[in-house]
């Protein structure tokens, strides 16, 4: 469903991403790994429309999306999280989920000011959906707290829930396990698999935690210094000499 072809991104004289290609099929979890500074997040930023790539194509369900504004890409069903969690810290947990459903609620202003029954019904629906996802990620008890006051692991889960209420087709997770303890990582592991299995969402993730990547990924792409290094199933990657060199050579 997603195809990245020869993606390049240049900042001034620096070629941060050079001819990277990857693809994601339906019902699949694909990981992007690589050493720090390899350009993984830049690839993400191009895919989510935050950067306009200087070369290459990005196709989502057959449509070219490179260079489209980020909010339009998100509306197509390609939604992301961030390396450093970006919640609306002064809003409550449930409100964070309501904001994400803004478009489902796009009623005209008058019906909202006058509180028509139709408006109330829609508002209730989005509250219900929010409640469902809060239960799903285990944050129901925190629903009315300010999002900024949550523990780090909870914030990570809330960010994923916030993506899910927009009903995405493809979820992009930027280092979802960063800063989590082993128990939390395990929960996350299960959550991501369930997103694929139960909600039929494909996932692309950037991750450093190798155990997580190897456990859940269907396929892995390795990027090194902006260039594609290898791609394949977890087993293939584990045995790939270039990858071992790139990782162990540094250490």
């Amino acid at each position: 469903m997603l195809e990245v072809q020869n993606l390049s991104m240049r900042f001034g004289g620096l070629l941060a991403v050079d001819q990277v290609s990857l693809d994601v099929q339906e019902h699949e979890i694909v990981a992007i790994i690589g050493p720090n500074g390899a350009g993984k997040t830049t690839v993400f930023n191009c895919m989510s429309g935050f950067y306009k790539p200087t070369g290459g194509k990005i196709l989502f369900e057959g449509r070219e999306i490179q260079g489209k504004p980020d909010y339009k890409i998100s509306r197509l069903g390609l939604v992301r999280t961030f390396q450093h969690v970006r919640l609306f810290g002064r809003m409550t947990v449930v409100e964070n989920l309501l904001v994400a459903q803004h478009r489902h609620l796009n009623t005209n202003l008058l019906s909202g000011i006058l509180k028509t029954p139709n408006y109330r019904e829609r508002e209730q629906k989005s509250l219900d959906r929010a409640a469902y996802w809060l239960n799903r990620v285990g944050l129901m008890d925190m629903a009315n707290r300010e999002a900024g006051n949550l523990a780090y692991g909870q914030q990570r889960r809330l960010e994923i829930a916030r993506c899910m209420v927009t009903e995405p087709k493809l979820l992009m997770l930027d280092e979802p396990a960063a800063g989590l303890n082993p128990a939390e990582t395990k929960d996350l592991n299960q959550l991501i698999i369930s997103l694929k299995e139960d909600y039929n969402v494909s996932v692309v993730l950037i991750e450093h935690d190798m155990s997580l990547v190897m456990d859940i990924s269907d396929r892995i792409n390795v990027i090194n210094q902006g260039r594609p290094l290898a791609s394949g199933t977890p087993d293939e990657i584990r045995r790939n000499d270039d990858v071992i060199k790139a990782y162990l050579g540094e250490a």
Partner: protein, 423 residues
């Protein structure tokens, strides 16, 4: 450390003298074509010296003074009290607001004419400040040309009545909608600018509109303005001594009471009150609607908001347009109250005053903004001898608020949407 403190304190005291003595200590007086210099009054000179001494002492004992100041909140018994529960607070607030509105409804019948007239002005400022509060406080867009939309509302009514004889009640929605349209058209290109650039551009737009009003003499009367703007009517009843327009009756004759010029003032006040209440309620609703949440989300984290499919332009534009709409509302009422308008009423300073109200009250806080509007308009009238210091105090207050309490005197308390546990 002590020596360093002394040096610093001395330096600060000298700077105080340098920045105040030449400007305050000498008065330039024009005499015919030449200018002469006069020494200021002894009291001013003593004041300047005293200020320098105070600065010196403050800087010398700065650590001690600041240290003891920091202890102060502990003395304040309210400082550590628990915040009220939201549902209780909301009930209290609406009860308070209802009481205020009821009081405001009865009050004009016992107050003096001048007081009611002033109160109408206060209400106009409340509308303006509530509208700007949407733009600055909720959406986080600093609009320094807000007064332009106020002018659009006022001039729409003035021109429509002058050229087409349109009455207040028709002009009111037209003025507000036209102001909103202006907001939409002006806002569209500028809203993608970063915060501080946006402020300057809106300031530029505001000035351009004022200069155009000043110079399109054939249409707007230029600096002379437009006069003879009619008063509002009540179901076709006029409030003047004699009926001006055919088909209308006069209020005092219909009810068989003696003519009094107060009727008109009270009527205008009541219109302004109703409109201000409508403004407050409508904005209160908007804050809790998806669009209100979108404003807030975009203000909190633009990148995250966009990644969730919120269009930055559309969300900002909605705030800008809605703010402009209420300014147009206020402008129409203002034109009707004054009966005469000129570009002089729509200078940058007016924008700054409205902004000061929003900042003092607490950005985003409706209650705070309403109280600040009342205070800012009435205090200078109460203390007439201080009225020339009004803008000086405003300026100083804006700086002090930003330094000490950027959240305002009555900080915004968000109304959370609560998720009730369900089975």
């Amino acid at each position: 450390m002590a020596a360093h403190n002394l040096k610093h304190a001395l330096f600060c005291a000298i700077v105080t003298l340098v920045i105040s003595y030449p400007i305050l200590g000498f008065n330039l007086e024009s005499q015919g074509t030449s200018v002469i210099l006069e020494g200021a009054k002894t009291s001013t000179v003593i004041g300047v010296l005293l200020a320098a001494v105070i600065v010196f002492l403050f800087q010398l004992f700065r650590d001690n003074v600041m240290g003891s100041l920091r202890q102060l909140p502990a003395v304040n018994p309210l400082a550590n009290r628990k915040p009220m529960e939201q549902s209780r607070r909301l009930k209290l607030e609406s009860a308070l607001l209802t009481l205020m509105v009821i009081g405001a409804l009865i009050w004009p019948f016992i107050a003096s004419r001048g007081a009611v007239d002033l109160a109408t002005l206060v209400l106009i400022y409340i509308m303006l400040a509530l509208g700007l509060n949407v733009v600055v406080g909720l959406a986080g867009l600093l609009d320094l040309g807000y007064v332009a939309f106020y002018a659009v509302g006022a001039y729409t009514f003035a021109l429509l009545s002058q050229y087409y004889g349109v009455s207040f009640w028709f002009a009111l929605p037209i003025g507000a909608l036209l102001a909103a349209l202006f907001g939409l058209v002006l806002g569209f290109p500028v809203l993608r600018l970063r915060g501080d650039y946006l402020a300057i551009v809106t300031l530029g737009f505001g000035e351009i509109i004022r200069i155009l009003l000043n110079n399109m003499t054939s249409l707007t009367g230029g600096p002379n303005g437009i006069g003879g703007i009619p008063d509002p009517t009540l179901f076709g009843m006029e409030f003047g001594r004699r009926v001006k327009e055919e088909g209308n009756t006069s209020f005092h004759e219909t009810f068989g009471i003696a003519y009094s010029s107060e009727h008109k003032v009270i009527f205008l006040y009541l219109i302004a009150l109703v409109l201000a209440v409508i403004t407050a309620i409508a904005i209160r609703r908007l804050m809790r609607m998806p669009v209100g949440r979108a404003w807030e989300a975009l203000r909190e984290d633009e990148i995250a908001a966009k990644s969730l499919g919120l269009s930055r332009t559309a969300v900002k534009l909605s705030a800008f347009t809605i703010g402009a709409f209420f300014a147009g509302f206020a402008g129409t009422v203002f034109a009707s109250k004054q009966g005469f308008i000129s570009p002089e009423s729509f200078v940058f300073l007016e924008s700054a005053i409205i902004l000061a109200i929003v900042v003092l009250g607490g950005m985003g806080s409706q209650m705070g903004v309403i109280l600040a509007a009342i205070a800012v308009t009435i205090l200078p009238e109460l203390a007439r001898e201080f009225s020339e210091y009004r803008m000086l105090i405003f300026g100083a207050a804006m700086v002090l608020m930003m330094v000490w309490r950027p959240q305002g005197l009555m900080p915004m308390r968000r109304i959370h949407i609560e998720l009730k546990p369900q089975e």
